[in-house]
Every structure is written in C-alpha cells, then in structure tokens.
Symmetry: C3
Subunit: 247 residues, 3 copies
Amino acid sequence: MIQIFTDYGLNGPYIGQLHAAIARVAPDASAIDLMHDAPARDPFRSAYLLAALAADIRPDSVCLAVVDPGVGGERPPVIVSVDGKRFVGPGNGLFEILQRRSSRAKAWTIDWRPEKLSASFHGRDLFAPVAAMLARDEWPSCSPLGEGWRENPGRAGANWPDDLAEAIYIDGFGNVMTGLRTAGLSARAKVEVAGKLFSRVRTFGDVTESQGFWYENSLGLVEIAVNGGSAAQQYGIEAGAPVVLRN
Amino acid sequence: MIQIFTDYGLNGPYIGQLHAAIARVAPDASAIDLMHDAPARDPFRSAYLLAALAADIRPDSVCLAVVDPGVGGERPPVIVSVDGKRFVGPGNGLFEILQRRSSRAKAWTIDWRPEKLSASFHGRDLFAPVAAMLARDEWPSCSPLGEGWRENPGRAGANWPDDLAEAIYIDGFGNVMTGLRTAGLSARAKVEVAGKLFSRVRTFGDVTESQGFWYENSLGLVEIAVNGGSAAQQYGIEAGAPVVLRN
Amino acid sequence: MIQIFTDYGLNGPYIGQLHAAIARVAPDASAIDLMHDAPARDPFRSAYLLAALAADIRPDSVCLAVVDPGVGGERPPVIVSVDGKRFVGPGNGLFEILQRRSSRAKAWTIDWRPEKLSASFHGRDLFAPVAAMLARDEWPSCSPLGEGWRENPGRAGANWPDDLAEAIYIDGFGNVMTGLRTAGLSARAKVEVAGKLFSRVRTFGDVTESQGFWYENSLGLVEIAVNGGSAAQQYGIEAGAPVVLRN
C-alpha cells in the first residue's frame, strides 16, 4: 500500500497524475490519499505533521511525501526507512522529525532518474515511480546516506526542535493542531495560544457548546478546539501562532 | 465494496485515515468516497440525504456513514441492515429514514471495541474496522436491537417526518436539494422556497438561461436549480430553508 | 484503468456515484480521479486541457470525460479512440482537439442505453457504465462516425483554433495555464497577459521570490507563474484572459 502526503491541494490534475504514475509502475498497488493540504511550501511544519501521522502508516507500506518549495533545486531525492515504513520524497527536512524519533532510521539518496524528468513536477516523474517500485519490493538504484549525514549540522532540519510549540495545521472544522506531542503532559497542563489559556479535557462532549479547550487529538498532538464551533475563528488563531505550555 | 458518507470535509488527514483503517482489516476491499460534505454535525438533514443516496448503494455492499456531533457521547455504535445493504455508524438518527422506508430493516448495537479507541475519532478506530469486517463477511460481536427499539418514541429520529420540507443540501453548482421525494408529485406541482414559486421541468435544457425551476434530481428528490447559474445565490436560499408544495 | 475528468467539482455525491456506477459494471477496474475542476460548463477550454493531459493517460486505458453544459441535450454520446486510448463522454467538442492532434482518431456514437436514464446525470447513468464496459474490453452497441463527421464544418469544435491563446485554467497555487503548447517556442519567446510581459525560464527556482515568468509546465503548456506566490492574484489574471506571444 502507498499512502500519499502532499501540499498540492485537491484541485487540478496533480493528484490524479501521481496516481496514474503509480499505477503505471505498480498496477496492483492500492494508493491512498492521506492528505493533500499539508502546510504549503513548508517542509518545517509539515515534518511535525507527517511524524504524527506516521503512527497511522502501516509498517509494510510506502509513503510518498512531497512538500517541496524549491522543486528541482538542490535538495536530494531520498528514501527514508523508519520502523519498516519507507518514505519517498525531497530531502529538505520533511523526514527529519520522523527519523529523529526512531532509533532504526536509514536513508538513501535516489540515483535513479526517469527517462523524462520535467523541471517542475518531480512528484509525478521521480517520486511516484520510486514509491511504486518500493511497493513492488523493487529498489531503484540509490546510495546509502551514512550516519554522518544525520549528524551533519548543516543538513536541512538538523537544528529543528523535537516538538514544535506552534499551531501547525488548522483543519476544516477550525480545530488547531499544534506540533506538541501530548505524551508526558499532565491532565492539569494548560496551553496558551493567542493570549488565551486552555484547559485539558478528554473530548468535545466534556464541555458546553462554544467552550474552548485543548485535548489529545487522534494523532497524539495537543489540539485546541471548541465544542460545536471553530477555535481558529473564535480565538483568531492562524497557522504558525506560538503555543506556550503552562503547568 | 465499502461506500463512505461523512461530514468530515475533504481537507485534512481524516478521510485518508478512514481508508487506511479499512485497508488494514480488508486490504482487498475497494472503498469509494460517496460524499464527505454531508450537512455538518447534522444527523437530521443527513438522514434524508443518505436515504436518497441509498438507491445508489449496491445491495451487497457496506456503507460507512458518520455524521456525529456528539462523538464519543451517549449514542450507541450501530449496524443497520436495509435490503441487504449494511450501514455502520452512530445510532443518532442518521439511519432512521433509511430504516423507516424499508420493511426489512434490522439493527444491532456494536459490542466490539478496538484495542485502542481514541476519544474523538470513532470513525477511524471503531466504525471503519467494523465496516471492513462486514466487507469480509465477518461480523464483530454485537447485540440485536429488537423491534421495540424502532418503536421507542424516545429514540433519536423517532418523531422526524417521513419527508423533510426543507433545503437539505446545496451542491457546488448552487443547486438546492430538498428532503422531499418526487414520487407521487404531479407535473403541475409547484414548489415555494424563499418567497419564490418554481414550476417543474424535466431538466436544465428545458428552460432558458438563468431561469429557475424545480425538477426530479438524480437521487429522486425535489431540487431547485437555474439553467447555467446558481439557484442558491440567485434566490438567496440557504440549507434549512423551508419548502412548501403548492398543487 | 479508467481515468476520470469532469467539471463536477469535488463536493457532493457526484464523483462517488460515478465510481459506484463503474464498480457495478467493472468491479476489478481501478478508477483514478484525474481532475474534477475542468473549466465549468466549458467544453471549449476543457478540450485544450484534456488534450494536454492525454499524454499522461495510458495507451491501454479509458478516460471518462464529462463537461456538458447541455446535459441531455442534442449532442450525441460518443466514444473516441486516439492512439489506443478510449475516451467516453458528450460529443460537444470536448474531444475535438485530442482528435485533431492525432492521425489515428476514430469515433462512434453510443447507441446503448441503460435501463434507467435520468434526465440530468448521464455521467452516472450512461457514460460511466460505458467506460466500465470498455475497461472490460466489452463494447456497447454503437455506430461509427465516418470521416465525414470530422470534416463537417457544422460539428462542435470544427472551427476552434489548434492552440488556444488564452488562460484556460488557474490552479490552486495561482499558476495560470494557457492553451498554448510550448513545442516550437524559443527560449527567448515572451508572453503577454493582462498587460504584462513574461520571459521564459526553466523552473521556479530560476527566478527570485515573487518574480513572475512563464515556463513549460508539466503538461507541455505555456504557464504563467510566480516563485513563491500566486500569478493569478499578483497580475489579476482570470480564466479566459487573452495571451499574446511576442518573439
């Protein structure tokens, strides 16, 4: 199975072209759209979202992940293997947080190139066929990136924090996902965003209508929400807003 | 085959996570997105839409349907069987109209629980795996809901009307679906919405550009539309607007 | 494989119903959503987009394409075969540019009718089942359209230009696709849109942030874009805006 994570948006032919490119190489592989509104042109925030979503990616499957502001630029195309899951995409930091949270991460640069590589759509021309090859248990030609790569302070993402104290994604209901994992946070921990302090509850039904709160969302992240409403609107929270933990 | 009907919207990882949860249990089942913009947090209006859509659901297939304002609240998780089609979702009235229109409906509460049940995403954790089990012809442990349940005046939806004289859904073209079935309505029946009276025609091409009308839509419902335009905009009709039949 | 191209938009049950109709006839065929925001009710501009996308459609596959302002009107339902790819949809000019660019195009009118044909949703009732039949290598009853048809000056699209010097599609990033193919254009060719002159570059990374340019997009079309921004917004370009080549 291939799961696809991009910032392409749902409009236009791009997602369909990814699927067609996969089907060309691996007609029997099923391909699932995990998410196509990752923080746009923003591998930094996307890296925290992808790391949280990885728990829902099956151990034997492949994740095609593309958030790539400098498409065709200097970043290498990479394959990253984390706990048996293989990720394919640009080596611009997008897989940094995933790798850091695993003790068994390995990485390769992809040497294989398609017959025709467009200047602007490496998702279709390079990453999708490679993901499809991996889904067939075929490996394109590639070169291992040694441990030195991960410890290179100059590499993309090397100096990013382990958890990101920011709003990283606002969903269609106006719920505000942060880059903070809930593991280790107490039931009494409070979260401050946009000058407002939120207490922790278990779920929406535990508060009255229109009340704001924070809770452990289904990805294991701190999320600000409002029962029956939009937290983003009600409190004026935008992606990138800083988040402060108050114990 | 599994067909999925929710109010989750198309953004975010939620639909992708439903598909992944299904594939985990039933890798060979095909899963189709029927609709993800059902009336949000509104099992009442969604019930009429789902009942109309059921004609397009195959007799041997499974429908995963989730519109659930009180996720994790008091409503039971249910399986409803109608004419050989099996529906899985919250027992909050969402399947009420479907059941009422069939003489062979049966219902069960789902006793099975997953190893890990999040507080807020029962679609992924509970309903999707159950739908996948049913698609494999495996039944989770569950308890039959007797006829008494359906006749219980306190149950969700018991006092809802057989047809809903309201705008229940406005599509991307601005066409206004109502909760009224066309069966039995004469060619001369008129429909009044937002202070405007609409006559019946067969289809868009039967009127001049920009003219409003009502017709039997492809779901068998009364729909207000405009040839080449948006009825919702042109007449200021919003979801929930009352509809009156004039003969 | 079936690839689906429509102007239905992503909301509502329509795309899901197409997939269900396909699965009913060809349960084993994979169906990919190529694009559902083709220029709405506009077979003219959609024809140029579809012709450009056809390069990404596999030779042995079927394309279900529906952009149909006069649904159920006078246009014939057709099958068009171009270079081994079979297209199914309304004969309203949508396949004109595709056909014209091939020396081996053939066309048929579809005589087959489903048991139940709704007045407004031929995509679901007629075109989807036919596409599914073709994917199974079964042919519905149909009648060949002779060469005379293609040369008939009265047929839809007969007088459309070979390339369309207009903005035909604006994607979610604000990139502006035109109906002009890049083949044969020199590296020094300039493009004028909305009173602004654009020079050619290879890709986004070749200019500074916020700079506008034109480039050969991944479909082989002239596209106006801005590095890190929206060309449509920055220059006030709307679909339909005329484009002038300056050498």
